[in-house]
């Protein structure tokens, strides 16, 4: 005698319908809800314990929806599990303070990193995990599927078609995960229009659109003023170009944010050209539209750039350079963080960027003892992609040089991605950049994390550049040799002072350590006069007036 099993297979769909019915009266026309009804809308569609995605990353922010979420009645909506790329706004933590949200899974926090650490310590917030972007996006399709997504775009029509344009960024990956698992998608836009310039998200994937009282917040995060680049950064950029870009003829790469890579970008049309490297390196990039790359683009160095996000002021320039950038039929850039991260992981031969601390083993981190900053996307780029199967000369050369290759795969040929960290031996306020133990380890103890938040692990790192020279640490035969190579470029830090002169000499003979002299770089030339553009105004001139820098970067 078997009991009859009745199982409902569309409970999510039914639940969604029930929620939508509850808020029907708030919809004005098509899918439009008035800004003043937003709090009521959220109270209607969100249930306690829901996984809620709040869109925002290091550039654009669904700030109006974030503020409205803080205003919901915590008796009705509570214990939310927030899944979001970035914790950047005050409101992102206020929802925890007010008892509306309880748990957090995220990737990166900037200005709120200190407050986040306090919340974790005080038990106001249960921290799931800190992810890299791709890792978090992956979990949106497995165990962190949003029930409700609060996203942001420039424009929408009444049917819910979204124009996310230049700053499309994370929106597609979030909306797809939410909508196709029967979730609810709410979008704030700057303007509701009759016809959007192009459809970035189709209207039937969106449930509600709201015109926010003011345009969403956006940060010009990738603009570096050439006027602030120092002579030391110029020297390190010369080393990078000669000792790595030229040495390996790296064709595809990601440049991290910062003055080191800005200096490299501005030396390509001068020093790079002098070395005859044009066409041999820097053809393909995964990169936000860095203004400092304009001179190299104008001189014909670059073939293609795919972007994670946009950059304020670069709109018209990108539009006029559709051979280089990914531009829609309407003329504006289409960025996409998920695809760009995937390209950065699998299709790029090199990651190069700055860091804050490197330990004696070669692990590096940007974490400090009392701030839970997270990772963003750098580790996706700054690691060897084990699933990579296509080859390139740079990748193969780096693999051939890999000191422990034989121990790992025998005689089987295999490439290796170049992962380069640039760091002056001392940071601001004379803090040493080379340390016995990373602050990340102290943070792990202070905040009770499972792991110290390491940005790039030593086994992925291939090169370290300081003002003292380049350490080709992947060439080392074992950890002992690697530690000696790190000491050799660590200058006058405590780690550097332990370097043994004889040992360093041997490393230089082996080509594991190269000083500017070994690279035949004339250090008297290492000054700002080598930069293709020395200030923001010269970047505007290079762009033929197409680049329009935000006020905070204009000195005119």
């Amino acid at each position: 005698m078997g009991t009859e099993i009745t199982k409902v297979w569309d409970s999510l769909k039914r639940d969604t319908q029930e929620r939508l019915n509850k808020v029907k009266h708030l919809v004005k026309e098509g899918k439009v809800v008035a800004a003043e009804d937003t709090v009521a809308l959220l109270e209607g569609v969100i249930k306690p314990g829901d996984k809620v995605n709040l869109e925002g990353n290091n550039q654009k922010q669904a700030d109006f929806l974030a503020e409205c979420l803080c205003k919901v009645d915590s008796n009705k909506v509570h214990d939310l599990h927030m899944v979001q790329s970035v914790l950047a706004l005050k409101s992102h933590l206020d929802v925890f303070e007010k008892g509306i949200a309880k748990k957090l899974d995220y990737s990166f926090s900037g200005p709120q990193a200190g407050r986040l650490a306090e919340f974790v310590r005080d038990g106001k917030l249960e921290l799931g995990a800190i992810h890299t972007y791709l890792e978090l996006f992956g979990r949106y399709y497995a165990d962190l599927i949003p029930r409700v997504a609060l996203v942001v775009g420039f424009e929408a029509d009444k049917e819910g078609n979204l124009y996310t344009g230049f700053n499309t960024e994370d929106t597609p990956v979030i909306v797809e995960a939410t909508k196709f698992k029967q979730g609810i998608v709410i979008a704030q836009v700057n303007k509701i229009v009759d016809k959007v310039p192009r459809v970035d998200i189709p209207g039937d994937w969106v449930d509600f659109v709201i015109e926010s009282p003011k345009p969403f917040y956006i940060e010009p995060l990738f603009t570096r003023d050439p006027a602030l680049i120092t002579d030391t950064q110029v020297l390190m950029a010369m080393m990078a170009i000669k000792g790595i870009y030229g040495e390996y003829e790296v064709q595809s790469m990601n440049h991290g944010i910062g003055f080191f890579t800005a200096a490299i970008e501005l030396l390509l049309p001068t020093y790079g050209e002098e070395l005859g490297l044009k066409g041999k390196t820097c053809s393909y990039f995964c990169l936000n539209p860095h203004p400092t790359l304009i001179p190299a683009i104008e001189k014909g160095w670059v073939k293609s750039i795919h972007c994670f996000g946009g950059e304020l002021g670069m709109e018209e320039y990108v539009k006029a350079r559709s051979d280089i950038f990914f531009v829609g039929p309407d003329g504006s850039l289409r960025s996409n963080r998920a695809y760009c991260q995937a390209a950065g992981h699998y299709a790029m031969d090199m990651f190069i960027g700055g860091t804050l601390q490197i330990d004696k083993y070669g692990n590096s981190s940007t974490a400090t003892a009392n701030r839970i900053a997270g990772f963003g996307g750098a580790p996706n780029m700054g690691c060897d992609a084990k699933g990579r199967r296509h080859s390139s000369e740079a990748w193969l050369k780096c693999g051939e040089e890999y000191g422990i290759q034989g121990d790992l795969v025998g005689k089987m040929p295999r490439g290796k991605k170049l992962v380069v960290q640039m760091q002056e031996t001392f940071k601001e306020k004379l803090e040493p950049a080379f340390v016995e133990e990373l602050d990340a380890e102290q943070l792990q103890k202070n905040a009770g994390l499972d792991l110290p938040p390491v940005m790039i692990y030593s086994d992925d790192l291939t090169h370290i550049i300081t003002e003292e020279g380049i350490a080709y640490i992947h060439k080392c035969a074992d950890m002992k040799e690697k530690m000696a190579a790190i000491r050799a470029v660590a200058g006058y830090t405590k780690i550097g002072l332990q370097a043994d002169e004889q040992e360093t000499k041997v490393l230089r003979q082996k080509g594991i350590v190269k000083t500017p002299a070994d690279l035949e770089i004339d250090i008297t030339r290492a000054n700002r006069s080598l930069l293709a553009a020395k200030n923001i105004k010269e970047l505007v001139e290079w762009s033929g007036g197409l680049y329009s820098p935000p006020a905070k970067f204009r000195n005119w």
Binding site: A227, R528, S529, K534, N535, A551, K552, F553, R554, N555, W556
Partner: protein
């Protein structure tokens, strides 16, 4: 050794104090006084555990512009923001003193043709004013420099050159105003209270120091040129500044007085009129003044190159 030819092409903004001192005078003519080899550094900084520089952030020396001996004072913004302490201040004072002694000697030796050999003083400013670590000595240095400038009045021209990164602020803003002639580039900034200090004291709504466009249109060379706070505006290169200085050397000395902005009852009255007019005009932004003086599209003026700017700009008309 610095390459003089290359220095001429350098952006003035990027040139350090020594490069400016070498590059602003004729090729090969510069001799440095109290150079870093003499290790004349601040006695106060080591007491506070702070780093020193062997020139205390001020380069002084003598060069030539044509037949004219030129005494150069050049401040280094990279060392404690160019702030003036005891040693650097003394170097400034002594350099002007030497210029005055040279004036007396030249006049005595060649009384008929001394104007051809008339010394001049060039001060290349890059400073926020007093070095707070040695505040009393630094303040005193300001007063002594002012005193020397006053002594030089009617004898030798003192020319201010402002186009470096830090600008010229604080007490040194007063000192610059007390010189005979001011030459700026559009990257040069001149004022009393620096933007960050205004923001700190009065709030971001009063003055947003992170808004570079605001900072430069309020304190930058173009605004100062329109307002007649500076006499000449040049392009951002060492060569352009040097060319302008050479032209200034051709101005007959009695004319120099006309370039001054302060220093007589008449000039005080002119300044007071300006203050009065600010009340009646009620500008909300520096560019309101640009408009008031007949520049219909001020932002377009801000966007264009110095050359185009000079060709089209309308300035405040001076009454004298």
């Amino acid at each position: 050794m610095l390459n003089w030819e290359k220095l001429q092409q350098l952006n003035f903004t990027d040139a350090n104090a020594r490069e400016r001192a070498f590059g602003l005078v004729d090729k090969g003519s510069f001799t440095e006084f109290v150079s870093p080899r003499d290790k004349m550094s601040s006695p106060h900084l080591p007491v506070l555990g702070e780093a020193i520089e062997f020139d205390d952030g001020i380069v002084t020396g003598l060069g030539l512009l044509g037949s004219r001996p030129v005494f150069v004072i050049s401040q280094e913004g990279k060392f404690i923001g160019g702030a003036i302490g005891e040693v650097g201040g003394a170097k400034m004072v002594k350099t002007i003193k030497l210029a005055l002694q040279t004036y007396e000697r030249v006049k005595k030796i060649t009384p008929a043709s001394y104007e051809k050999r008339l010394p001049a003083v060039i001060i290349s400013f890059e400073t926020g004013g007093v070095r707070l670590h040695e505040a009393n000595a630094g303040l005193l240095a300001h007063a002594e420099v002012m005193d020397q400038i006053q002594d030089a009045r009617g004898k030798i021209p003192i020319i201010a050159v402002i186009g470096s990164k830090v600008g010229c602020f604080g007490g040194m803003g007063f000192v610059a105003a007390a010189t005979d002639i001011i030459v700026m580039s559009e990257n040069g900034r001149l004022g009393l209270t620096g933007p960050e200090v205004i923001e700190q004291e009065m709030g971001k709504d009063e003055f947003d120091a992170a808004n570079k466009a605001l900072v430069f249109r309020t304190t930058g060379g173009k605004h100062k040129y329109i307002m007649q706070d500076c006499n000449f505006l040049v392009e951002d290169s060492v060569r352009a500044f040097r060319t302008q200085l050479k032209e200034i050397m051709n101005i007959p000395f009695p004319e120099i007085e006309k370039y001054r902005r302060i220093g007589s009852l008449q000039l005080v009255e002119e300044q007071l009129e300006l203050v009065k007019s600010a009340v009646t005009i009620g500008p909300k932004d520096a560019q309101d003044m640009w408009k008031y003086y007949g520049n219909d599209n001020p932002q377009a003026l801000a966007d264009i190159s110095p050359k185009e700017f000079l060709a089209t700009v309308k300035r405040r008309e001076r009454v004298i």
